[in-house]
Subunit: 550 residues, 2 copies
């Protein structure tokens, strides 16, 4: 059969080791920084692979990590999959019962655990039969007695720094990551060698997040979040220097790493970059001159944040992805024909989720099953397909039925696409409010309400309504001393000016805090449950403003 | 089975059409330039696909082109493979008997022929039974009576501009190209959808030849030479503007296209860029200000040429590839740690064939089957593997036996790799001279001799020798009036200063011209045949300088 060789991760590590033996992998620890060259990294990775062989790990076995971002974690990134085993990066922020479910579902043989996370996993493992056959290795120079875990350094110590990396098939499972599971059990997404290869190459295009050998790459996004958005693989393919921020870095830690290691590209959720901004705005002098690009993903990048970094000559690249997409789907590069547009237009475009990466295809489907036009207004559910988009969930045939259609992944995201092709998230399909045959974006209402002075959080959910199917209700968190009646008044009159009147919530409830998921997102499921069976009754929407019934 | 969706070319065309509907594809003709947008291109490509369906082309059928670089040829690039058929780009510079062999071997159903090449293919087709079942289409608005060929515009005219592009497997053959066959029959290399996808993505990395939507890409390298080094696909993936130089462009044509279309990236063999240099040096004022990058491949890029373009702020990127590699293998980017090196060192590195593209692996194996060290001196045969490297030849099991080993493609190139990882071609395995257990680079000797004043061409070949196995003989072309004895004297003494004495040719033969292959390379096979069975006898090499016998 014609064709090329299998797509695997091996050439990326080989290239880094051979072309850039002296380039560094720097890792922050509580005691200072560790430094390894790619040459040393390759040797240690081979030691890890030999140790895993010795332990009894075979092709297809799953090896898990329960770790922050550091060099040893990076060693598992190539050391595990390049042997033919599968690296399962567990999110330590998940509740115990999810961790128990995941470890059981994945059938992990061994878990590499950070000392600072030992208590967390010990709690999850306690009297949980899912952990009975699991062994632990402590990510450091010391073992962890409570877990009966030898030290990683001891685990790899007596093994050869050479390893005869096998030829693997492209469809060999190489990675495994679970969605955070805002509803129901977490779902596993397997990354094959070919998917990780494809994602790495797509990331390396100018339309992705390209890296060169002159780059110094610092993934702040956790390595348990879809492989830190693939950055460790991409940086290796490029021969770039790596900087890992270690456990719970605060803005001062990140500032020091950026300045002292000369970071050029970094990535994280908006909170990270808001935190750094606050730190600098508070009077801390931080040299950002080496920093070219900051990737923001995981949540929307506020325009003000983009502007603040622009003023400091740091380009914010907004990106969107999903666990199911390995994860990158779109990146908000400015198109060439927008370079002459005014700054506000440019920032508006850049704040959207962005342009589809080359190699992927998508479509946006409305309630009637039709593709919506690219006009920036009509919205529908985003469907995606491509070489680094999974075609199935791990061991979840019922989820496959529900979330894939005609070869497309139903992302569960409600989006618009504008005339220039920029995709923008409007809502989640499960959160969008279906009222009288039309859709209302809960996210737009929340953003509008959160823009009011005195409002610190707002979540809008649809609650059942006997006539309109669903109606929006706003849950609002205000600061102490804020006049609640004034807030209700502003919501009722202010939103009416910006949106169709039938978008205005039927009720405003004040709460102390919006419940959150393990990854810090609003948990609207909990809010909907608060309303329980209390269906709203007719009367809240004036007849003449009501949407047409179908 | 876990995994992502098939890797195919379809998303690249889809992305260009949807994100860049107004971006242009410009094509030079003898009558002026044609301009199409990606939106028009997509419509015409759909028309072509519908016309091929109507003609009876089915999945897996082979559709051939016999064309220069122009928009219609580019329409076949997506229009043929995206239906599931296979695009066979025939090199019109091949001798008739090779064209006959290729058309028969490929079993082409239909051939799209440029009017300017009609006579050539009619000659090859004349009374050749290989062509009996082949139909022709004339690439233009007029048919060609001699070939009974309708006009392309007529062929596609009445068809829909919409086409329901099918889901294809990644291993569906999409392209076919034959090696020029300096020895024996041409060998076919099939490009699957996945190989072309992989090559496109690898080209798009910063370590390849990356393109953006601001780029204006002009492939001068023929589209029948391994898909113009993949540039039409890469430019589409990037949403770049295309400029096709049409039939036999001369330096004035290229200069006009660069200036008037704002070309930023172009690519071709050294002759093209030497020609443009001569044109400008002759006093023609050409504005090269938009031109960022010139890719040189197909033959070594002379350092002086790199320097000339550097002076005009045009970066020469030297690249190396093969038909078997789709074609890109290495690109001579300057490594970051060489940016502080002196200019001569930099140009010396950039003039080598370069650094391996991410995703590939190679090894260099000496006569004893051992990997040679990366020291810039030891040489051996280059072996390559990777997702866009073929694992077999089309219908040639005996060639597969000879040219693949343990999953590696034996490139037939003899190379060195220096400490920085830059690969440099030293010779071809069939041309390297095996003398007394050591290898002598015929290419190095040729370059040294060609540097002498008065020498216009030189080819050095190994001829059988009863004691040393082979000994070098130089075939030299000199200008009229050059003192031949002086040239012989220079060769004998000059080479002795630079190389081991046993490298010095045993004989110098003056000839009128070095015989060339269809692609303009020296045909050493012909020269070796001139020597026939005339084995050299002992005596030419002084005993004390002779290499050790094994």
């Amino acid at each position: 059969m014609p064709g090329g060789h299998a797509q695997t991760l091996r050439p990326f590590m080989w290239r880094a080791e051979r072309l850039y033996p002296d380039t560094e992998i720097v890792s922050r620890t509580h005691e200072g920084r560790t430094r390894h060259t790619y040459a040393e990294y390759a040797g240690r990775t081979a030691q890890l692979a030999n140790a895993l062989d010795d332990y009894g790990i075979e092709r297809g076995d799953r090896v898990a990590t329960f770790c922050w971002n550091h060099t040893r974690h990076f060693e598992t990134y190539f050391g595990v999959p390049n042997t033919g085993a599968q690296l399962h990066t567990i999110n330590p922020l998940l509740p115990d019962e999810h961790i128990q479910y995941i470890v059981d579902d994945a059938d992990d043989e061994i878990i590499f655990v950070d000392p600072s996370l030992a208590e967390k996993i010990a709690g999850a493992a306690e009297s949980a039969e899912e952990f009975e056959d699991v062994d632990f290795v402590a990510m450091g120079s010391d073992g962890i007695d409570a877990l009966d875990a030898p030290a990683y350094e001891e685990f790899i110590a007596d093994h050869s720094t050479e390893y005869d990396w096998p030829d693997l098939d492209g469809d060999q499972p190489a990675g495994l990551c679970y969605t955070s599971g805002t509803t129901g059990k977490p779902k596993g997404v397997e990354y094959t060698q070919s998917m990780l290869w494809s994602h790495t190459m797509a990331s390396q295009t100018p339309q992705g997040i390209p890296m060169e050998d002159s780059d110094v790459v610092m993934p702040v996004v956790p390595m348990f979040h879809v492989n830190a958005w693939g950055m460790p693989f991409t940086a290796a393919a490029a021969g770039a220097k790596h900087v890992y921020p270690g456990p719970s870095p605060d803005p001062a830690d990140l500032a020091a790493l950026i300045e002292e290691e000369g970071v050029t590209i970094s990535a994280g959720v908006p909170t990270v970059w808001l935190g750094l901004r606050e730190y600098i705005d508070a009077g801390n002098d931080v040299d950002l001159s080496t920093l070219d690009t900051v990737i923001i993903g995981g949540a929307a990048a506020p325009q003000a944040l983009i502007e603040w970094y622009d003023e400091r000559d740091v380009e914010v690249l907004h990106a969107w992805g999903m666990t199911e997409l390995s994860p990158i789907g779109t990146v908000s590069h400015l198109k060439d024909d927008l370079r002459d547009a005014d700054y506000d237009t440019q920032v508006n475009k850049r704040a959207k989720q962005g342009l589809v990466a080359p190699g992927l295809e998508f479509e946006v489907i409305d309630e009637d099953g039709e593709e919506v036009p690219w006009n920036g207004e009509d919205f529908g559910e985003l469907r995606v397909r491509g070489p680094w988009v999974t075609k199935e969930y791990f061991k979840r045939p019922e989820a496959n039925e529900a979330e894939f259609v005609d070869g497309w992944l139903k992302t569960g995201d409600v989006v618009t696409v504008d005339e220039d092709g920029y995709m923008q998230l409007v809502d989640r399909t499960k959160d969008v409010i279906k009222s009288g045959g039309e859709w209302i974006s809960s996210v737009e209402l929340e953003n509008a309400i959160m823009a009011y002075d005195g409002v610190s959080e707002a979540a809008v959910v649809g609650v059942p309504h006997e006539r309109w199917q669903e109606r929006p209700v706003a849950f609002v968190v205000v600061a102490d001393g804020v006049d609640r009646e004034e807030i209700v008044e502003r919501i009722e009159t202010g939103l009416r000016e910006e949106y169709p009147k039938w978008w205005v919530p039927d009720a405003v409830e004040f709460i102390d805090e919006v419940p959150k998921t393990a990854t810090g997102k609003f948990s609207k499921k909990d809010l909907r449950e608060q309303y329980g069976d209390q269906s709203l009754v007719d009367g809240a929407v004036p007849e003449d403003d009501a949407p047409e019934e179908e």
